[in-house]
Structure formats: C-alpha cells, structure tokens
C-alpha cells in the first residue's frame, strides 16, 4: 500500500474507526446487562474489533509518513 501525496486516506479512516470503536466498546462495557443478541456483548466485542482496525490503519499511516 502506498500513500497518496496529499492526505493519506488511512488517517481519517483510522481516526474515525478508533473513535467509533472506543465509543461503542466503552458503551458496551457499562451496559453489559442490556438485552444482547444470542447472549453476546456485541457492543463490547465488535467495538474492540473496530477500535483495533482503526488503530491498525493509523499505525500504517504513521509508518508510511516516517519513511
């Protein structure tokens, strides 16, 4: 993957998913008692997935901007 010369697209996308992931997993952590689909705390776990995805993109963008 190479970066576009102006604004590496991984910055905005990574930031957005990190923000949404943190919001959703945080909410899931404090509302673990709510009704859950098939007994899974979907907010917590999928929130973490989105958070990790966002952080991964940010990490990639940072590495590309350094080299």
């Amino acid at each position: 993957m190479s970066a576009s010369p102006e604004l590496d697209i991984r910055w905005p996308i990574g930031l957005l998913f990190a923000a949404i992931g943190a919001l959703v997993s945080g909410y899931g952590l404090f509302h673990a008692g709510d009704a859950q689909p098939l007994g899974v705390n979907l907010n917590l776990w999928w929130g973490l997935v989105m958070l990790l995805f966002g952080l991964g993109l940010l990490w990639g963008a940072r590495r590309a901007s350094k080299s």
Binding site: M1, S4, I9, L15, V24, L42, F53
Partner: protein, 539 residues
C-alpha cells in the same frame, strides 16, 4: 425502533469527519483536473475500493438484501454472472483505451473516437440519468429512515443533501473517493455482525435451506424454465440480459464508476482498479443477500407490511435485521453505515455529473476557451446544481415499486446501447461516427419502445425483472446491428486519428517489469477462478 444518545453520538462523529475531510482536501484543489479527476494521482487500492463503493450505495445494499428476501440466492447473479465478469473485462480490455486516450470522461472518449454529436448525445443522457439515480437514492433512503426511525422525509433529504453538497463542493472527486472508501469500511464493519449472527441463528446454510421454499438457495439449478424460479426468468435472460448487456453496460461504460479508474496514477493502477474492486465485490452477496434471505426465513412476514396490509415491502429486510440484532451502540453504527452508503452514492453521482457537465457540455458548447480557474468555479457551481436537481428527482421517484427494478430500467435506456457502441468503437476500427450515433439513438429508442410496449401490455413477461433484462437485450442488439449497418455506408475516420483509441491500432501495455503477482492479468485470473467456484458451490 428508536435511537439512544450513543447512536446519535456515532452519527454525529461520522458527519463531523466527513466535513473535516472535505475541509482538509479543499486546499489541494488548485486546478480543474484536481477537482474532477483528483489530479490523476490516487493509488490503485484506493481507486479500487472507491470503484466498488461508488456502486455500493444504500440502493444497492438495501435493494440486494430486498432481492435476497424476495428472490433468494438467484440475486447473486447480479454479482457472480453480472458484475465480476464485467469488471474483469473493463480492467483488462477497455481500460487501456479509456486511460490511454487521456480522455477526462466517457463522453470525451466518444468524441475522440467518433465525433461531436455522439459525445453530446451521451453527455446529455448521462447527465439526466445520473441526476435521476441520485434522486432515487435519496428518496429511497428517506422512506426507509421514515419507516425505521420516524424521521421526516423532507428533513432527511435536505440534511443529507447539505452534507454531500458541502464535502463535494470543497474536495471534488478526491473528497468523494475518500468518503467512498470510508463508506466501504463502514458498510462492511457495520453489517458484518448481522451476517455472522444471522447465519448462526438460522443454523447455517442447511438450516436456511430448510426454512425457505424449494429453490431459494440455488443459483443455477432452477433456471431451466421461467416458471420454475421466483425471478420468472430462464438462463438465457440471466446470462445475456443481466450478465452481458446490463452488467457489462454498467461497469464498462458508466462514467460514475469509470471515473474512479481514470483518477488512478498510471496505466497499471487504472487497469487494476476494477480488478482490486472485484475481490470484495464477489463477497458482497454474503454480506447483504444472505442476511436478506435469512430475514425472510426467521422474521414474521407481517414485519414486512409497514401498514399491516398491501404488498410486502422487501426493502425493509436489512433495516429489520438491524432492529432484530443490534442493541443501542451497534445500532448507531448500522444506521451510520446506511447513511454513509446513501450519501456516498449521491456524492458519486454528483461528482460524475459535475465533470460531464463542465467538460462535455459547458466547455464544449457554451464557453470554450476560459482559463482553468473558470472551469473549477463552474465545477463547484455544477455541484450545487446537481444536488438541487437530485432533490427534485427524489420526489419523482415516488411512483415506482421496487427501486432496483427501476434502476435497471434506467440502465436499459442508457447503458445497454452504449455498451454496443463501445465494443464496436474499441474493437472494430471500421465503425464510423455516423454509424455510432445512429446506433446509439436507435438503441435508446428501442429500449423506450420496448418499455412502452410492456406497459401497454403488447409484450408480456412474468416479472418486471424479466422485462428489464429483455429490454436491455433488445436495446443492445438494435444499437449493435444499426451501427454495423450504417458504418458500411459511411466514411470511417482515418487510422491516424484512431491511435490509442482502438484495439488494432494501440500498443498493448507490457507489465514484464512488475512482479508476477502484481500484474493485472494475474489478478484477473484469480478473480475468475474464485467466481467460477462460487457459481459452482451455490449452483
């Protein structure tokens, strides 16, 4: 279904980001080429995802889930017979002429290859079609948000139009492409949990097959006769109508998608754009069609009747699944994904519209030799006009039942004959300007004629879908035959004018310098093999 503060917070974060990206990109928009074609410097994986996602609007996502609920696995033909082979074809065989000609739009290619009137005809029909498509997109979404959340139709249309207007006005095609890529990830991450949870709940593929009528989980084995399957069509209509004419017509000639590849940084990136897009594209059926089928299998069918009576509204399949599975929090993500796909679908149409308007209509016929700055300003002005016209079109879309059928109908007017023009134009150097023009006009008229004949009951089909497929076949055939016939009686352009535009007069790009795995042809083979496998597994 109602939203909590957390859901609104997520929608708010998304809107803030979209506008922020537009603001940041604004300072890079110096020339009209920056605005309309992103200065031709976007890497292939970004244009690839944008290529996919310009088409993965809310209409597509909800319409495909709706078709899944209504027609079952037959809907996958839109992907595994339609889109994927077309994407391979446009990447391998058509991109060398599109990108190689340095045309800035599809109509401009037509002017280079044929003549001014062919370009004018295509530019005008495309401008009308893209505004209509954008309007339908907006209207459909407003209806869904009203049914789902009780939002006012007018407020949804106006607010989303405002967001799209601001970010495309500021950042042009780059803004649109960035938001399309963002939207792609939102759709995938926002809907994937539904796909996973619903497959678990229904008990896998076997469990699903057991709960649906016979044949709903097959793609090929019920296509022997039109009466045997829910779509009311047989294999010939699917392969020729949907696969060849409609899908090739859309993916190979529609400027909305081709524009993404034209923004790529070099020929290899342009060719790889549709091929990279094809990998996620072939998995989309699992993300939207299968959950649509499961919605019909596990939810009470009364849920599909919003007023409690009348015809089933299959477009509710995906929203109902959101409601069924998502708690506050993830619901916000799901709603944001739908909103995002809706807005990026609209932005895609608006950016294609402003390019065609500015380069192919304004610069060609109204004001030819203005400084570049003037066209950049015109592009921004066309963006505003495009959004306003789409809002108007949104209110026209009211009368039609299934939005996907309607979209297919528009394509059969415009893209089906255009495909014949491009195939002849790119691969037969004898095709003449007058032949192409008459073929286009004749093919489009044939589509219109067929449409009115169907409406009047002169020709009858067992479903709207079948009628559209055959309308497209007739339009394509009329254009193909007319173009050839008239070409024999009119003068072709000299070879010297056709270099880089026609197969036999263009040097083939060579990719020996690229690593084996990075060549367009390798990607194309991989895509083809996977697609054949999917067709076989789900036959």
């Amino acid at each position: 279904m109602h939203l909590h503060w957390i859901d609104y917070a997520i929608i708010g974060v998304y809107c803030a980001f979209v506008l922020g990206v537009g603001l940041v990109l604004k300072k890079f928009m110096r020339t009209s080429l920056d605005f309309f074609l992103s200065g031709r410097r976007i890497p292939a994986w970004v244009t690839g995802l944008a290529f996919l996602s310009a088409n993965l609007g809310a209409l597509e996502v909800m319409g495909m889930a709706a078709s899944g609920a209504k027609y079952g696995m037959l809907t996958s033909h839109f992907y595994w017979v339609g889109a994927i082979p077309a994407m391979i074809f446009v990447g391998l065989f058509m991109m060398p002429y599109y990108y190689g000609s340095r045309a800035r739009s599809v109509p401009e290619y037509l002017r280079l290859r044929f003549d001014e009137k062919t370009r004018a005809f295509n530019a005008l029909t495309f401008a009308v079609m893209t505004v209509l498509a954008s309007g339908i997109n907006m209207y459909a979404m407003a209806i869904v948000f009203q049914l789902m959340l009780g939002w006012s139709i007018h407020a949804t249309i106006l607010l989303s139009a405002a967001v799209v207007l601001i970010y495309t006005y500021l950042g042009g095609l780059t803004s649109s492409i960035y938001n399309e890529v963002l939207q792609f990830f939102l759709i995938v991450l926002g809907i994937l949990p539904i796909a996973i949870l619903s497959v678990i709940e229904v008990g896998g593929w076997q469990g699903l097959a057991a709960r649906l009528p016979h044949g709903y989980t097959n793609t090929w084995s019920t296509l022997g006769h039109a009466a045997d399957n829910p779509m009311g069509i047989e294999w010939f209509g699917v392969v020729m109508g949907l696969g060849f004419v409609l899908s090739f017509g859309y993916w190979c000639t529609d400027f909305l998608v081709v524009q993404r590849a034209m923004a790529a940084r070099d020929m290899a990136a342009a060719q790889k754009t549709p091929l990279i897009a094809a990998f996620p594209k072939m998995l989309i059926p699992f993300l939207v069609i299968v959950p649509g089928m499961i919605a019909w299998a596990i939810l009470p069918h009364n849920d599909f009747l919003p007023g409690g009576q009348g015809e089933y509204n299959y477009n509710l399949a995906l929203p109902l699944m959101l409601k069924h599975y998502y708690p506050a929090g993830m619901l916000g993500v799901g709603i944001t994904a739908l909103l995002a796909s809706f807005m990026s679908g609209m932005a895609g149409n608006v950016t294609a519209f402003n390019t065609v308007w500015t380069y192919d209509i304004y610069q060609s016929y109204i004001r030819r030799d203005a400084p570049d700055r003037h066209y950049l300003a015109m592009g921004r002005f066309a963006t505003i006009t495009g959004v306003l016209l789409s809002i108007g079109a949104a209110y026209v879309a009211l009368q039609f039942r299934n939005i996907m059928d309607y979209l297919q109908l528009i394509f059969s007017f415009v893209n089906a004959p255009l495909l014949a023009t491009f195939l002849l134009g790119m691969f037969w150097k004898r095709a003449t300007p007058n032949g192409a023009f008459c073929g286009l006009v004749g093919g489009t008229s044939a589509a219109a004629l067929h449409y009115f004949a169907t409406k009047a009951g002169v020709v009858e089909y067992s479903s709207d879908m079948a009628a559209n497929f055959y309308g497209a076949i007739y339009a394509w055939t009329a254009c193909f035959a007319l173009t050839i016939l008239i070409s024999f009686f009119t003068r072709p352009r000299p070879d010297s004018h056709l270099k880089g535009l026609v197969y036999s007069l263009t040097e083939k790009p060579s990719y020996r310098r690229l690593p084996w795995l990075n060549r367009p042809a390798t990607l194309a083979w991989l895509v083809a093999i996977f697609t054949i496998l999917f067709n076989w597994i789900f036959r």
